[in-house]
């Protein structure tokens, strides 16, 4: 039983971080109706940024949280503006433009392999002030980097939800996600909103990078590992839903951790797919998705 509770605690912490990696994906989909296949690469960029920042300056990883995301926002903003926007314009008002998906895949190839050219294929970790530290909670061991990741993930999700509800930009994002044409008619510049959404999604990937780097390693194709999980999470939670991403992440994290106490951990991967598919049969729109989204 101890092992199961320990596994559940750990699963919840990892799950929140999976949710964090999926948050940017779901935001971008919600607004742009595009599955961003480059999302894992953006996470990789976030992780490398955090890695180099901490490695070169030796700053505390919490401080990196203040520096990396804004930089990534700018990166994402212009990536969408320069690379993705032209395709959007060519596709016109198609609801879910497939060519844009392919462009994001191209971006994925370019970013991952640029990283390979620049940094090589090797795995890198950096020892930070909180790496490998843990505290005891009764008989359970809580890893400090994972616990802070958990807290940051939840704070980010709440922050994003508040931003979407309370600010003018947030409202414009939501209006665009609900009805692109109507938002256009209301005088919202669709492409600027896309830039912001993409920038925000990338910035969140930057946050995820900062919380992952104290205990995880980074290499050019690290994003792929998180990508597929993030896809499952967003579909589970409902494409475009912020609480859905967090909840989906938690569910996946818990399943992965708790189930593997009872079976080989290779099978938990299969179980995750199975549960995913069952939920799709029963409730195709996911936990929080809107019916019109599928």
């Amino acid at each position: 039983m101890t092992a199961v509770i320990q596994a559940a605690l750990n699963g919840a912490m990892m799950g929140a971080m999976y949710g964090l990696t999926a948050l940017g994906l779901t935001l971008i989909f919600g607004v742009m109706k595009v599955v961003n296949f480059a999302h894992g690469s953006l996470l990789m960029v976030g992780m490398f940024s955090a890695y180099w920042l901490i490695r070169l300056t030796g700053i505390h990883p919490y401080l990196a949280l203040v520096i990396v995301p804004p930089v990534l926002f700018v990166f994402g903003y212009y990536l969408q503006d320069v690379v993705i926007k032209p395709v959007f314009k060519a596709e016109g008002q198609v609801r879910e433009p497939l060519t844009v998906i392919i462009v994001t895949t191209g971006v994925w190839y370019v970013l991952d392999n640029l990283a390979l050219m620049l940094f090589g294929a090797e795995y890198r970790t950096v020892r930070t002030a909180i790496s490998n530290k843990s505290f005891a909670l009764g008989e359970f061991i809580i890893s400090i980097p994972k616990f802070s990741g958990f807290v940051v993930a939840i704070a980010t999700a709440i922050g994003l939800a508040l931003f979407m509800r309370k600010t003018k930009t947030g409202k414009a994002l939501r209006a665009t996600s609900l009805d692109r044409e109507a938002a256009n008619l209301m005088g919202i510049d669709q492409y600027r909103i896309y830039n912001i959404a993409f920038g925000l999604g990338t910035a969140i990937a930057g946050i995820a990078g900062c919380v992952l780097i104290p205990f995880y390693y980074v290499y050019p194709s690290v994003g792929v590992v998180f990508d597929i999980r993030a896809f499952i999470i967003v579909v589970l939670g409902g494409l475009g839903s912020i609480p859905g991403a967090l909840l989906g992440g938690l569910v996946i994290g818990l399943i992965e951790s708790v189930f593997s106490q009872f079976m080989a951990s290779t099978w938990t991967e299969a179980i995750i797919y199975a549960i995913f598919l069952i939920i799709l049969f029963v409730k195709p729109s996911g936990f929080f998705g809107h019916k019109q989204d599928w």
């Binding site: 092992a3 699963g11 490998n132 205990f215 590992v225 998180f226 951790s257 106490q261």
Partner: protein, 415 residues
Amino acid sequence: MKNGSITTILAGCMGMALSAALFAAPALAADKTVKIGNVEPLSGPSASVGVQGKQAREMAIEEINAAGGIKSLGGAKLELVYADSKSDPTVGVTETERLINTEKVNLLTGCWNSAVTYPATQVAERYGIPFVVPVAVRDTITERGFKNVFRIAAKDSWWVRDQFRFLKDMQEETGVKLQKIAFVFENGDWGTGFAEKWRELAKKDGYEIVLDEPYPSTATDLTPVVTKLKAAKPDIVMLVSNAADAILLTNTMAEMQVKPKVVLASGGGHADPKFLENTDTNALGIFDEVEWNTDVNKPAAKPANEKFKKKYGYDLTGESVDAYVAMYVIADALERAASTDPAKIREALAATNLTTGPGMIVSYDGVQFDETGQNKNAGIVIVQVANVDGKPERVTVWPKAARRAGYVPAFPANK
């Protein structure tokens, strides 16, 4: 070459007509050199190992050529031709075909990944081109009745056999009795192959298997596995891990305060030059089975390693030593064959009995192939990560004859 290649790419893009013309262009025949084709993962998931092997080969070839090349062929120089397999069997086959037909290589080496080595050696067998496999440990590689495949490294059943010999020897030596054993391994070709044989031998030696746990090598989090390990309370943990997961596993075990008496790894990720850098003191006490270690008791080993380290900035690894040795085995065979005819090279390779020379930096006595093409002397050593002068270092502990003088293994590593 640079301009040439860009033109070729452009031509390639222009479609079949141009490509066809290009295809028909004959490769330039090279005189006075023996071409060795090398299929290695130079990009993709195993790129770092591929590069290690490439650098070791280059160093060996430089030495051989500087020493006058192949004298029986009038001082012919050895030339290396590389092909990137990307760890993908399909690419491996295409590249092997290209090396044989376009580059007209006289013999081949590679491919590190067993998955690439299987089909690549099949291609070589079909063309009758000798194929020297430095590493790729799956038993079946030399068990298919092929005439042209020669392997330097030990096969995996031998690795496992020696792991259990080590455990037995150490328990006898220290009087510590260990009973409960746990298997944790990556669920690829390599890990599952090892695990299969572990089960067999553990049963034979009377261990109690308390955990038998494959994990996906792409796992983002190994805490579930470590939690399970903690609950199973094994005395011995046997591991097979790739680079990233070895680091993650070691650090997670430290974090979760899982301290089994003995942790015995199987090279690969644990032997990667980056492993100690990324785990530091968390790795202390781990035993690791490797083909080679820097302190191996061979006269040529130390200078070779120093030279390598100076050149590339890191120590030779098991993989790179096998690649290095493979070059000397090839040079030796060519010398005796006195011909570049594949059939003759094949005969010479089969008759190899190399025990001396600058290439002999291996931990075992020499290279001699049995009728399946397996190096029958191939052996391995077991090292322990120990604190030497305030820094974690890999120290050879087994076989006892090879143990670093003055070192007392910490067995069990944790009480």
